[in-house]
Symmetry: D2
Subunit: 345 residues, 4 copies
């Protein structure tokens, strides 16, 4: 399998490289990077010295489409939409790590992202690549909308209860925390070491772009029109997303019964780990891996359930899930090249 | 003013020392520490070299009560309750940083803390030292229950809306994040550098001991019996608490109107800063100081208000508020010795 | 005393603000910042909300010179040199935190900094403001070259042995480690959180600009032409500099005798703390303060002495020492407004 | 290959587990842990949930020796020496990650470690498992003394110049920096998050136990009796060792010529990366991998060479090198199961 990466010098793009270097079936043939054309990839990511000899390439999508069996676009919003075309999709498959094709209602996309969609005609065709849910559709897709980091962790930790109609969706609140790699590699004062270190803050309160993506997927799961509060926070660490969600119970179920539902839903999922009773997911236990750890706690005092999930934002939240999608699209075992053991400490 | 500190070699106790060294009216006469009796205080806290020559003392409360005008107890739960007596309180004032006298209903205390209260007779007399609220009672108190870190930040960021009856208290959810100094200086594997660094986790979900303390105070404010969800998280940083709270609006008020209420409530408070519209409190902006930064965001999509607060857990959440209480008790300006400018970065 | 700060929105400039807000004799009348003209200072440094109401000003040096008794320039290399003039120095005093006036040989300056000096005529007059050494000259100076962070900590930890002729200066090697605030607040990829966190590296090996500054001062102390190796390292922390220096002993002296020399040299210095035998300086014990902690270890196996120093790079290494110089220039107690107790943790 | 690990619940032991789970030829049959007998390994290291089902075992060396083809001992000093015997070594191979068999002169070991060696009779037989140097001896060894973390990184970054007689060994100074996982998982106040974070310190100055190990190996390489200064520092990060070494040049060689020597020495070594001219090794580029990055800088002003190395202390400095030794002992490709790509950020 020949792979091209557009945007290989961002954190998510470079993580695709890290993963694919140990993938038995994939070979990277194109290290795309608008900012570093003609520079050695390993001069930008020093971890790749002696592992990657290639230089970075520009964005010649026609040439790349001919060379590659699959293209990953790990690029800013809008870029992938400007690249896809029948010509491209007839030659190769595209897995887009941006939000361009995640939201079915183009007006919602344009409202929240503040840009005009360049290829609305492909939104319908694109498959939302949350592998555990849409595995069958992914198999035959040409264009994958790889889910956002917050949505993946939020959704997988809430899904069984949304699907089973056990929680009152109108009470759902998602409080999320992310490591700083989620903010990307752009040179901004707010992301400097001294600004992030020894600090925690909420951001994008009641306005973060992942909100409609989460709402759409939870609406499919629950069969209702879901509107939520979603509050992300920036945490002084490199990697990791932690989700703490709250909802009122609609039915009289115990914590054990709820945990039984989770165990049933995820019993065949390699990448979802339902933790033992009483354990809270922690990002340190998933770092560097494609795992999502989930668990729940029922509070009888308030009749609420607290749903928790932990994940590596760059792996299951970006590059790892993208490779998982690739594996499905090409008929490989879903965890091929993705058995990285979480690295601790 | 002569000051004794019992438990001076914990993080909160040492922070009282840091603050009082620059307090114009206070002199520390007793550095109590069960673990380090006869050792130089500066040999345990190297920052105090050349500033503190004293050695640590044991727990002779009778002797100390005679020497000191005020005693701070920064000790594990139960210790202060075992020390107070009419003899002690007739000689000196006590400001207790533990939870022993914070909760009026002794059975609630004993349930959540799992210990038998050694001096229930003094609970009634003890004043809950949330200065901004109970200033008048503090003035004449002999025994202060210095509030917990999470309760202080939670309460001050929610209080105006609870008091005004603007939020539905039954919908209140508090999602809290704390730096690691809140876990104390005990040698535990879970608090080792490599266990905390690069990690975030929830803990004490639906069971944290600060829950009933927050509920009691919010019940007084709102006039209702408040039951909440409170979820603390451990963040890889030394200091700081961030509170993100959610509640449904009972009345039709705008964000501007709510901000107006906060500004009105806190207009004379030196230590509470209501941030400009749209700004989220961040712990970096209060580090080392006694400030609490608060702000709100209204989400018209869900009809909820998000209330946020940031504070240094060791200052306003412990030692600083204790000194603020001392100032009030002794008739000093409330911010005497407490004008530390937040240190950034 | 009316104070102007040019470059008040860098880390060093903002640290001058933090210190002076608690200085009993100083009032800041000018918050200069080329990048943020007309913006509220507290909108850039959120710690200053309710403490500083001023907006940032441009660089009208003539106007500022008339208003201010003293001007701090916390600006990039070359800027202060372009501002000083007889007109300015006849109206006000200037304390320059850049390197413009630190090196007496202008050709050395121009070689290492790669810029042409705009005001070489003032180099001779400028006093190198290492207070502990040049106190007397500082008193009457109009123009102070405030020492660099690495030079201050290096020099104070080595000075007694250089002065006493006890070490072979040709064997001196300085291995230095600094927190990230030393790299400034410029938006550069290399200073992003994810690039600095979980990393340590050497930089400027055999080429760092502080080398000639250290060499010049050690040459004065030792009476020899000193040439050294100086290697700085970037450490994932906000503040702090640690110096570990190595030199061969020329004389047969014991560790106790050497420590006696240090104690003698620094016995009247408020800001220099010679630690107890066997203790190594640590940056955590000086954070936020103007202290320098020093100590030595003699290794009889190699006949070398290891000289160590720890300091807060933004305080004694920049803003604190600048204020210390101001105090001397205006006849105040040297530690006025500088008695900040180190903050730990 | 059946593998037993004694001390599997320390950081180094758990890192062996992480690596071997992706090793195609190894199966772990014994998770030894004195502290956690009968507890599930995955309940102690949450990253291993769903990957390791085993419970921890005690220290029955006879039983283990029969089950395992190779035993790793990742245990405190002295333990391995107390376990080895002819009975054990006739049944299995032992790779000891402690220092028990690293130093050939038992009196030097006993002096620096302060314990009596329990099995001095096996010191002669034990092979010092620095793979790049002693590969041939490792092949047939029964007992491997796996090198220390600091010695591995120090030695590999200095070796070519020591071997070639280019540096004056009497001038060699090694200034080392390590992440905190090197301090182990014991519950000690000094290793708590708040004590390590925002701090750097030297420790074990002129007395660290790795000193004689480095000296012995450099003595073999140079043919001289080497005595050095070695100063380790503790850095607030989880993983990584950085070495900055200084020595005077004995010969008139340029930086290019020296780099040529390094390239020649390491041209066939998979795990040693000689960086491009001018680049300084950084720990972030090797994290999680078995690579050692090295480079040199010549300073003509002082006629010294600065030799630098970066490495993951838990991988090439412990578990990775142990597995590398295992691969050699069992005739596998040396990098089998060790092709982990460094994880960044």
């Amino acid at each position: 399998m020949k792979v091209g990466i557009i945007g290989s010098t961002g954190y998510a793009g470079a993580e695709i490289v890290r993963i694919l270097l140990n993938h038995p079936e994939a070979e990277i043939v194109w290290y795309g990077s608008r900012s570093y054309v003609d520079k050695k990839f390993a001069s930008i990511f020093g971890n790749m010295v002696k592992l990657v000899d290639n230089v970075c390439m520009g964005e010649n999508i026609s040439e790349l489409a001919k060379m590659a069996d699959v293209i990953f676009t790990a690029t800013p919003q809008g870029l992938c939409a400007s690249l896809v075309s029948e010509e491209v999709l007839s030659e190769t498959k595209v897995i887009d790590l941006s939000a361009d094709f995640r939201i079915k209602d183009v007006s919602v996309y344009e409202d929240w992202y503040g840009i005009t969609h360049a290829a609305p005609g492909y939104i319908e065709e694109a498959v939302y690549g949350l592998c555990e849910i849409n595995r069958d559709k992914v198999k035959n897709a040409r264009l994958i909308a790889n889910p956002g980091c917050y949505p993946t962790c939020s959704f997988l930790s809430i899904y069984p209860l949304a699907k089973e109609g056990i929680i009152d969706m109108s009470t759902l609140i998602i409080d999320a925390k992310s490591g700083t790699s989620g903010a990307g590699r752009g040179a901004k004062v707010n992301n400097l070491y001294c600004e992030v270190n020894e600090n925690i803050k909420a951001y994008g309160v009641a306005s973060h772009r992942h909100t409609p993506e989460i709402e759409e997927q939870l609406s499919y799961a629950s069969g209702e029109n879901v509107v939520i509060n979603f509050t992300p926070h920036l945490v002084p660490m490199n990697r990791g997303i932690l989700i703490t969600s709250y909802a009122s119970l609609k039915k009289d179920v115990s914590e054990d019964e709820i945990r039984e539902i989770y165990n049933e839903y995820y019993k065949d999922e390699y990448f979802v780990r339902v933790l033992d009773k009483g354990l809270c997911p922690e990002t340190r236990w998933v770092e560097g891996s494609n795992f999502v750890d989930v668990n729940v706690k029922v509070d009888p005092r308030t009749n609420r359930v607290i749903m928790m999930g932990a994940m590596d934002n760059l792996v299951k939240g970006a590059a790892g899930q993208a490779v998982q999608n690739m594996n499905i699209m090409f008929g490989l075992e879903e965890n091929t090249g993705l058995k990285m053991v979480p690295m601790f400490p």
